[in-house]
Structure formats: structure tokens, C-alpha cells
Symmetry: C2
Subunit: 265 residues, 2 copies
């Protein structure tokens, strides 16, 4: 896969993704007990989330006891190695409970805070998108394809995606509409899967807001390993979450930043 | 699959779906020549659309020469049998060109104008949803599951889907927002796949507008075969397209109609 210092980490990440797949899939399209984590807002937590995160933590406990863990369901474990695994066991929980095969398992390894390897796994389709410093690939069963987005599209030809156009707050909303009117077409509802499609070369731009660290950490090595760019709306680092923009090339990235900047926080 | 008069028609429909799958898949996530059918609006037509529809027409030419055909790409062939096949070779062309595995091949057989059997096929995932008078099933490889939506959810617990919240026109927009505020959550961007999820029991309600006959004909036998309801926004027949509502049960259906009725055309 690569000759980097991260080879053995990638092996661990593959084991984690396999384990999360096996843990989560039995709950997909099965009757679910959906709980509300928050009073008021709807934030579904399913048994799938917990089972998948626990399966990944078990592997880290065995093979990487000194690394930190930041997981959506079971919180933080401090690092004594300078490295941290950032886990979202089911990204796109709403898609999951709606039976839609675009939820994903997200795994990132951050070194001194910066995500270095990332995995976006879709268990039902058997699809896995993997990124590391300088490269990215797609695996499905025996199929393995190197990913490199060589799009030279300008922003007016861009295919954009965002999870939910109603998630933007305050001045983000009208600014997003400006951007939507500038691109060729916009799709909704794909969560992390849309970022994998930037790596695969079929989506050019993803713009979101209000993301958590565990929503975004795994996406960065995948998109950037395939040649794309991921930043916040000011052009700074995105790996802590918040307002995120991911683009297939530098031209689309800077054209989108130009429009979004007035609403950057 | 069933003991109805439609058994042999279902066999033909399976052959057609297999042929369409084989014809369309090579174009998925491959560099595409996207043309504009309309001046102005963006209406992509791909080689996949044409190849898939031609493959299905070839089978009908051999096995059902007297039946009519209504296809998105190659237009109408008159019926001399009172029966008509309604074909949408790639429903969700925008999802297709964005690399998202939620486009589908749609096949319906209408008898005296009324859709009796329907197929929703997702080639990349290998998923097929099939409906006939009184039944519906899901097939994926060797897996076969009978579909029956027994949801007793009220509308306030409903998971709703629509392809694009910006597709509604005039008074449809604000009325849709009322409905969106009434349900538990709303997902976007799934085209016919969302209707298959009603049959599968994981989505409760789909509301759309501006559909063509070939967008909707195949969905009706699948949703209704699994126990759901499909009508227009006034509660009348939906198989000619236009404003469409599909619901998991009668309670959700009538609650949604109550809200949508003022914008019914």
C-alpha cells in the first residue's frame, strides 16, 4: 500500500475497520432502539455505534496501549505516545437509521495532533477509502484502485455536496446559497461519503459547518492523499472540526473560500 | 416469488434488470461525457442511460413485441396488447455522475395504464427491490427477503426523504417546510432509492414534485406490495407523475396529505 513509516499503523487501521464492519452491520436495516442523547435536538445513538467503537478500542488496547483515543461514543483516553486515534464508529447515523448505504466508519491516526492516516469504510457496500501521507486508495473485495483526483474543473463546473442545507446557522445560510448558485449542481445527505467521492474524483467540493473533530479527522488524509485540499472556511487547519471545506483542486478551493470567507468564524 | 398471472412478466423484468446492470455499471465512476439535453437547465444524459435502456428494449423486442414502451431516453412505442413497459434506465442521474451508489434502474409493467409490477435495481450495491400485486421482496446475490412495512409510526416519528428541497415551486416550498417541521427527520438526495427504503421499512414518507411517469411507475408496485401507499398530493393516482407522496402507512399518508393539500395541483 505504501512504504511510509505508517505501514504498520495502516495494518492496525485495516483490522479496526474490519472489526467495526462486523460489529455494525448486523444492526443495519434491523429494528433499532434509537435513543436520544440530547434533550431537544435529535441525536440518535444506536447499539451499532457502541458495538463498532468498542470493537475498535479492543484492537487498540491490544496493539497500541500508549496511543490516545478520541471516540464519539466512549470519550477520550489520554496519549502517552504523542499519537491519537480519532474514531467515529457510525458517521451518518441518520442515514444509518433510514437504511441508506452511505453511513461510514471513520478512523484517523493523528501524530502530534495532525491526522496522518485516514479510513472511510462503508460496510454494506464493502467499500473502503484509505489515505496516508502522499497517497490514497479504494478497496472493495479483491479490487484495489489508486485514487488521484486530477480534476481541473473551475468552480462553475463543480459538483458540490453538503449533508443538510438546513444545518447552516446565521449568515452561513445565505452565503451557502451564493455558493450553491455558483456551482453546477449540489447533492445533499452523504456525510463523510461525499469526501470519499472527492478522493474518487466524482465530487469536486464539500462544504459543511458544525463538524466535530471525529467527523473530520479521517477525511483529511483521504482527500489530501488523493490530491485534494481540506481546510476551514478561512483556509486554516480543519482537523478540529467546525466549518470545513474540502475541494478537488486549488482553484475550486480558493474560489469557494472567496465566497465563504465573510461567514468564517 | 409469487403465484400471480405476472410470474412470466417478472422473469422478463429480472432479465431486463440484469441486462441494464451490465450495460450501465462500466460507466459508473468512469470519466463520463455529460451532455446537456436542455438549453439552460442542467439535465445530464450519459452513455449509461442509453446503453441500459437499449439493453432493456432489446429484451422486450424479443419477448414482448406487442407491448408498448415508455422510456426516458428513446421515447414511446405504441402498445397493441394493452400493456406498457415504463423504463427509467438511470434514475438519479445526478447521483450517478457524482459517484454516489444510490442511482437506480427502474422498470414497471403497466396493465391498462396501471403499474402492476415494479423493479428498483441498484447495480453497484447489487440490490434489487421487486413489487407485484400483493407482495414485494429484496434480492441481493443469494439473499432474498420478503418486504412488509408494518410501521405504526405517527407522522411526528416519521423519517422523511425528498430528492432536493429546492425543487419545490411556488407555494409547494413553504408547505414542504411545514411538513419538514412536523416529522422526526428529513434526508435528501436519494431519488427512487428512498421509495425502496419505504418498502424496506426504514423510511416512512417520501414527498416530491415534478416527477415524470417513468420516475414513478416502478415505485408504486414496490411500495404498495410492501404495504405502503403512493398517491398524488390530493390522494389520487400518482402513476402519471407530478406531485407524489409515498407513505409507510395510512396514518402518515393522511396526516401528510392534510398538510400538502393546499399546494396540490
Amino acid at each position: 500500500m505504501s512504504d511510509t513509516q505508517y505501514d504498520r499503523d495502516l495494518d492496525i487501521a485495516m483490522q479496526m475497520a474490519d472489526a467495526a464492519r462486523a460489529a455494525a452491520l448486523p444492526y443495519f436495516r434491523a429494528p433499532l432502539v434509537v435513543e436520544n442523547k440530547l434533550d431537544g435536538g435529535f441525536d440518535p445513538v444506536t447499539a451499532a455505534d457502541r458495538a463498532a467503537e468498542q470493537a475498535m478500542r479492543d484492537i487498540l488496547e491490544r496493539h497500541r496501549p500508549d496511543d490516545g483515543i478520541c471516540g464519539e461514543e466512549f470519550g477520550n483516553k489520554a496519549s502517552t505516545s504523542g499519537r491519537e486515534w480519532v474514531l467515529d464508529p457510525v458517521d451518518g447515523t441518520r442515514a444509518f437509521i433510514a437504511g441508506l448505504p452511505t453511513w461510514t466508519v471513520l478512523i484517523a491516526l493523528a501524530d502530534q495532533g495532525v491526522p496522518k492516516i485516514g479510513v472511510i469504510d462503508q460496510p454494506h457496500n464493502g467499500e473502503r477509502f484509505i489515505g496516508w501521507p502522499g497517497g490514497a486508495c479504494y478497496q472493495r473485495g479483491a479490487e484495489r484502485i489508486e485514487l488521484r483526483n486530477e480534476s481541473e474543473n473551475p468552480i462553475t463546473d463543480a459538483i458540490m455536496a453538503t449533508t443538510d442545507p438546513y444545518l447552516f446557522e446565521g449568515d452561513e445560510g445565505p452565503i451557502f446559497q451564493q455558493l450553491r448558485n455558483r456551482v453546477r449542481l449540489c447533492r445533499y445527505g452523504y456525510d463523510a461519503y461525499a469526501y470519499a467521492m472527492i478522493a474518487a474524483g466524482s465530487i469536486d467540493l464539500v462544504v459543511e459547518s458544525g463538524l466535530q473533530k471525529y467527523d473530520v479527522a479521517a477525511l483529511i488524509p483521504v482527500v489530501e492523499g488523493a490530491g485534494g485540499r481540506v481546510t476551514n472556511w478561512s483556509g486554516g487547519p480543519a482537523h478540529e472540526g467546525g466549518q470545513v471545506i474540502a475541494a478537488a483542486n486549488a482553484e475550486i478551493h480558493s474560489a469557494a473560500i472567496e465566497i465563504l470567507k465573510p461567514a468564517a468564524r
